[in-house]
Amino acid sequence: MLFEKFDPLKGEMLQILDHKGIIINDKLEPKIAKEKLLKMYKTMVLGRVADEKALQFQRQGRMLTYAPNIGQEAAQVGPMAAAKDEDWLVLAFREFNAMLYKGVTLEQAFLYWYGNELGSKYDDNVKVLPINVPIGSQINHAAGLAYASKLQKKDEVAIVFIGDGGTSHGEFHEGVNFAATYDLPMIVIIQNNQYAISTPRHKVIKSKTLAQKAIAYDIFGIQVDGNDPLAMFVAVEEARKRAIKGDGPTIIEAVTYRIGPHTTSDNPKLYREDKEVEEWSKKDPIFRFKRYLIDKKYWTEKADEQLYEEHKQTVLETFKKVEETGEVPLEDIFKYTYEKMTSNLKEQMAYYQEFLDKKGENNGK
């Protein structure tokens, strides 16, 4: 069994594709169809291009704050490639690539960060929960989804993302304990990107690895090279098989690095050395995945150039469409509070509409 071979207490980490893109563990190399490998790669590149553009849009004052994903593409796309359409994706907030792979449109993803709740109204068949800002609380949502899957005998799992910082939260413990207690089909992906905003993971977490937290719940936990899309795929595929069988949840620690700032309001130069960023940049997930695909003759440099060009166009056009959406209509901010608007809300909305209609002029009446 895969997970038994990688003891989180001994610092054993699953890696299949090294940072140069060479297979170093050919026994574990997954047999993924060419089409799927390319979908994974293209999603990662789209995520990367979207990220870089989003940072520019934000600097130009065209977008709200934004949480970049640069460097973490594999940790997000690998798991989603191993997931099935019927599986649930439960987000923290730095999973742009996972969202795109699972069927959230680029337009929706941008619309959210542009400041419109409609961006979280994903298409009907897309089983993704909206971005979850309160740290750690999403674990319990995933546990509940998984409980319902199990009780209703649906063959589906809940895949939930959390950051290294989130594992300190009480709700992380509550959720994993809940899922472990009832053997629920849940997979926790910890994107350990080394920082909780400015605080380095080692300053606030004593555990040698985050995967070892699984031991307390008597479930498997595994450290995976989070910049290796194949290793992430393999780990999630195995965890999924176990979950569906009724063997309960798994914790997968994706060891990765946030190349960009926490959000566009953050300046990482204040708390980390350029040298550290340079070192991690050498482990870039897209670089190594591209090498792998070229070596397999699935991809070419020329196709790559073209892909970046296409994605740039897509991103620019999509964002233009998002900018055209403008302000949210007044009714929308009221009408989703309850299924039916209460008389109280109707009254408040009517009051404000009247104020708008009169342009603030009431002649003292």
Partner: protein, 325 residues
């Protein structure tokens, strides 16, 4: 039709709702095998199995947070907070998620779920077992807050809460769980949410209360038989039934609001504001409130100072009636 206590009415509501709708699950601390510390869920696990009725870890955030996931994935969870004073570890889930999923997802997801919690004082309990935290929940957009005061309403309101497409906080006045019986229909029925009940018609003064205090108001009025009060049992704290309140105040011109929740920023403050906004010119006396003091609910040896008695209500009513502008 048989005579039942509030406790029996709640148990029957859960039982019959679960029988009719397989998607309902009931869980919380000691809710399964034992049937809850008050026995409101007694017999349910035996009848519906450990999958649908179960004991959880002592982890309120997990209880409520998992209910969010279950409600999204096809179930209707009815979860229990053992006491309202222990709902606070789940408050983050309730405020930041339960109340917001419909709005956050622009209607893609909504949460048909109920969070039950016994509330209120008067049972000589330890710290954190006597709170009246209506304001904490009524203040949050996206939640509904329902409190029954009779066995008939307890059953009908709980069934309505379970059938409601939005999340409902259902506070149960534990002091009167077993205090009295009332005829309760054997079949399933709903008492609509958002509608107050006029417990007694009257002309002289409007008295608004809910939960265990409705009975205290009724007892109080026996002490002043010459005053003909209209007693409103609010039943749903949020969304509040403004119409019933305003219509009554227009008729009586005098108002007393009685609640056990502490005074400052409490529900009575909101109700008086509504009255000022909508019935100001009908008032014949300043609206008043008789509430818990702005203190921590005392332990049993001091609790009787805090608990509102019928005599105190009658005293307050006489004061308001004596007021002449």
């Amino acid at each position: 039709m048989a005579n039942k206590t509030i406790l029996q009415a709640i148990n029957e509501a859960l039982d019959q709702a679960m029988e009719k709708d397989e998607s309902i699950v009931v869980y919380g601390e000691d809710v399964g095998y034992e049937g809850g510390v008050f026995r409101t869920t007694a017999g349910l696990q035996k009848k519906y199995g450990e999958g649908r009725v179960f004991d959880t870890p002592i982890a309120e955030a997990a209880i409520v947070g998992s209910a969010v996931g279950m409600a999204i994935n096809g179930l209707k969870p009815v979860v229990e907070m053992q006491f309202s004073g222990f709902s606070l570890p789940a408050y983050n889930q309730i405020v930041t998620h339960v109340a917001r999923f419909r709005n956050r997802s622009r209607g893609k997801y909504h949460l048909p779920m109920v969070i039950r919690m016994p509330y209120g004082g008067g049972v000589k309990a330890l710290e954190h077992h006597s709170e009246s935290l209506e304001t904490l929940y009524a203040h949050i957009p996206g939640l509904k807050l329902v409190i029954p005061s009779t066995p008939y309403d307890a059953k009908g309101l709980l069934i309505a809460a379970i059938n409601d497409p939005d999340p409902v906080i259902f506070m149960e006045p534990k002091r009167i769980y077993r205090a009295f019986k009332q005829e309760v229909p054997d079949e399933l029925y709903e008492v609509p949410l958002g509608k107050a009940r006029i417990a007694k018609k009257g002309e002289d003064i409007t008295i608004i209360a809910w939960g265990a205090l409705v009975r205290e108001v009724e007892k109080a009025m026996e002490l002043v038989p010459n005053i003909n009060a209209e007693i409103i049992d609010l039943r749903t704290i949020s969304p509040i039934d403004q119409e019933t309140i305003i219509n009554s105040v227009k008729k009586t011109g005098r108002v007393l609001i009685v609640h056990e929740a502490v005074k400052s920023f409490g529900p009575a403050a909101e109700i008086i504001s509504i009255i000022n906004e909508k019935a100001f010119v009908y008032l014949e006396a300043a609206p008043r409130r008789l509430t818990g003091f702005d203190i921590t609910v005392p332990l049993p040896k001091g609790e009787n100072h805090f608990i509102i008695e019928p005599k105190q209500i009658a005293y307050e009513v006489k004061n308001i009636m004596a007021f002449k502008a």
